[in-house]
């Protein structure tokens, strides 16, 4: 057999059949300092995407990644209006390249019908001074950084919308 990565294929419209047992939208439970992040996902015409799912991976509040469990993983399907909502604890800072520290963030993979391969991105928090020294945000043109940043809303939750295309196209990464 060949040792090249298997080609990705779309999750299609019916992924929830296979994904439903792994849906997990609350990492906070009764921990103190829980935060809620919610938002919507839009296509290139501004139409909400109703058949997609976001997967998140994050460190704990002390900046430690679980090395033998699924603690820190979230799988959040989009609803019939393209909305998602998750509850978690804000992750601590983790090491970046060359001795840097990264700002608190969650790693995100976006899956949907019409995406032949998932789209990797990240979400940061607007009220973190550390964003200014984050080594990954620094790779993103200043004008596009806002697409990666969840903004506090009046009720204390964070709002983060994703745009697959258009003037506000979310920054996606390759690594």
């Amino acid at each position: 057999m060949s040792f090249q990565q298997t080609a990705s294929q779309t999750v299609g419209p019916y992924f929830i059949i296979g994904f439903q047992n792994g849906v997990h939208t609350d990492n906070a439970g009764d921990q103190a300092g829980a935060v809620t992040i919610h938002g919507r996902v839009f296509d290139g015409k501004g139409t909400p995407v109703t058949d997609g799912v976001l997967e998140f991976w994050q460190a704990d509040a002390n900046g430690h990644y679980a090395d033998a469990s699924d603690a820190g993983f979230l799988r959040v399907p989009l609803d019939a209006d393209g909305n998602f909502t998750l509850r978690t604890v804000k992750p601590g800072r983790v090491a970046g390249p060359n001795g840097t520290l990264q700002a608190p963030h969650l790693v995100v993979n976006v899956f949907m019908r019409g995406l032949l391969k998932h789209a990797p991105t990240r979400v940061y928090f607007d009220d973190e001074a550390a964003n200014g020294e984050d080594p990954i945000l620094a790779l993103v043109p200043v004008t596009r950084r806002a697409t990666l940043i969840a903004k506090p809303s009046t009720d204390g939750s964070y709002v983060w919308d994703l745009h697959m295309q258009g003037a506000d196209e979310t920054v996606f990464f390759s690594y």
Binding site: Q4, P97, G99, Q102, E169
Partner: protein, 235 residues
């Protein structure tokens, strides 16, 4: 430096689909148009969830039982290995599978194809790979089904696979096809991968060794996840 993180291999030219592939119409408004921003792998990308075997319920590796009776269709056994590009088995990793029934109908509210649902088939399965990266499940052969992408568009029979691996960087969702399916040549999703050899690796092979005489045919499908680079990523 001690805090350098070894990243993962990049895909070989044309062996992964692009985001936009016009023959697959839904990509046109959904695929990102800007070039993804290249970044080094950090701790965040080279770690990932590890699922416990305890999450698996009874017989999640057998889609032919658990729904009150035997489903209609041709019973098959699907097995293979999950390896990385360095040839190492990916051990104890979660594999999720889902599929249409023998008539080509998914158990999903939005699937309105006029083919019968099967009360004895839900089309969902989960398995964990073993110490050698092997997995195995039992199901029925899915049917082809129509979609609205173009006139007379039918998907070739396929089983969806979701594999986690050891790191977010290894995450993979793909589809397994069946050998000799005439719809493969005219399926935009299959053909979205330009490299023919890469495409053909999505087609399972008849697995003589694992067939069970007078009971079930078997198909073999190996999955390769990204392999770790040998040296740290250079900036």
């Amino acid at each position: 430096m001690s805090d350098e993180v070894r990243g993962y291999r990049k895909p070989f030219w044309n062996t992964q689909p692009d985001y936009i592939f016009e023959p697959y119409a839904s990509t046109v408004l959904r695929g990102p148009t800007q070039t993804p921003i290249a970044m080094p792998s950090t701790l965040s990308e080279v770690t990932g969830p590890r699922f416990s075997r305890d999450i698996l319920g009874e017989a999640e590796d057998d889609m032919t039982v658990g729904n009150g009776g035997a489903p209609q269709g041709e019973r098959i056994i699907v097995s293979g290995r999950v390896l990385d590009e360095n040839g190492r088995p990916v051990r104890n990793t979660l594999v999720e599978v889902w599929q249409a029934n023998a008539a080509g109908r998914y158990l999903h509210q939005r699937d309105q194809h006029d083919a019968p649902l099967d009360p004895h088939f839900s089309g969902e399965g989960r398995v964990m790979t073993d110490e050698h990266g092997r997995y195995r499940f039992k199901t029925i052969k899915p049917g082809a089904y129509p979609w609205r992408n173009h006139y007379n568009a039918w998907r070739p029979a396929h089983i969806h696979f979701s594999v986690f691996g050891d790191a977010m960087a290894q995450r993979l969702v793909t589809q397994m096809y069946f050998p000799g399916d005439p719809m493969l040549d005219v399926d935009p999703i299959f053909r979205a991968t330009a490299d023919e050899a890469a495409r053909m690796r999505l087609v399972s092979s008849l697995d003589w060794e694992n067939c069970v005489s007078e009971y079930a045919l078997a198909y073999r499908f190996d999955v390769v996840l990204r392999g770790r680079l040998e040296t740290p990523w250079e900036q």
